[in-house]
Subunit: 136 residues, 2 copies
């Protein structure tokens, strides 16, 4: 599976917005990310839908934060991106009615959920300003 790098990218963007006085345009941000303005709008649009950033159209418009980075957690941003599951593994969809398969899938799903819950809890403890200060 091609891994999802959107979290990494939006954090990069949020860090820049946090350091900027003025709104930044999709083009500026796209240049930073070595990508396309449309990709920026598409991805950042999810954060806007959840209220973490706002946009202004027209001249001197662009993207800006709605609150300081200290008021956003990694968990919130992750969820805003859709939270499609952090674990890169999946369980097979059950084709037949094999009892052993059902049993394996049930158990594995439970382990995955346990792991996911653990990570999400950790994400919830990390505010973006703290994240950017990490040195380890």
């Amino acid at each position: 599976m091609r891994k999802d790098s959107r979290l990494s990218r939006v954090l990069h963007v949020l860090a820049h917005l946090g350091a900027s006085e003025n709104p930044m345009t999709s083009s500026q941000l796209a240049r930073m990310l070595c990508t396309n303005p449309v990709v920026v709008r598409r991805t950042m649009g999810l954060l806007r839908d959840s209220g973490y950033v706002q946009t202004v159209q027209g001249r001197h418009g662009g993207w800006s934060l709605t609150r300081p980075l200290s008021d956003m957690t990694l968990l919130e941003i992750h969820k805003a991106l859709g939270d499609t599951g952090l674990i890169g593994l999946s369980v097979t969809s059950e084709h037949g009615n094999c009892f052993i398969e059902k049993s394996v899938n049930l158990a594995l799903t439970s382990v995955f959920n346990e792991a996911e819950t653990l990570i999400l809890a950790r994400f919830g403890e990390i505010s973006l300003d703290k994240l950017l200060q990490r040195r380890d």
Copy 2:
């Protein structure tokens, strides 16, 4: 990204092998998994390389366990499959020399590693016989 379901599949296979007196052929296993014998050989071959199963060629050949399921952990099997990373998220490769990007990536990588370590430790505690007994 299409998620990796190999762990789920080999556990299904291992559970059957643990319950079977005789070796099971790739074709039998493939039927169980609703796939192709070659897929079975390819994936199970990784477990053989690590010594968890063995194969016998020719008539009455096939796949069998080299040790009881109580002597295999989820962690061992996961690692035998290549351990390409459990977290379905990645960090952008650094194109430019943006200090903020480097900082974000370093911090995020550290969080991902922390999470990964946590899960792997949990996987190490779960033997396959225990996994199959889980009811939750």
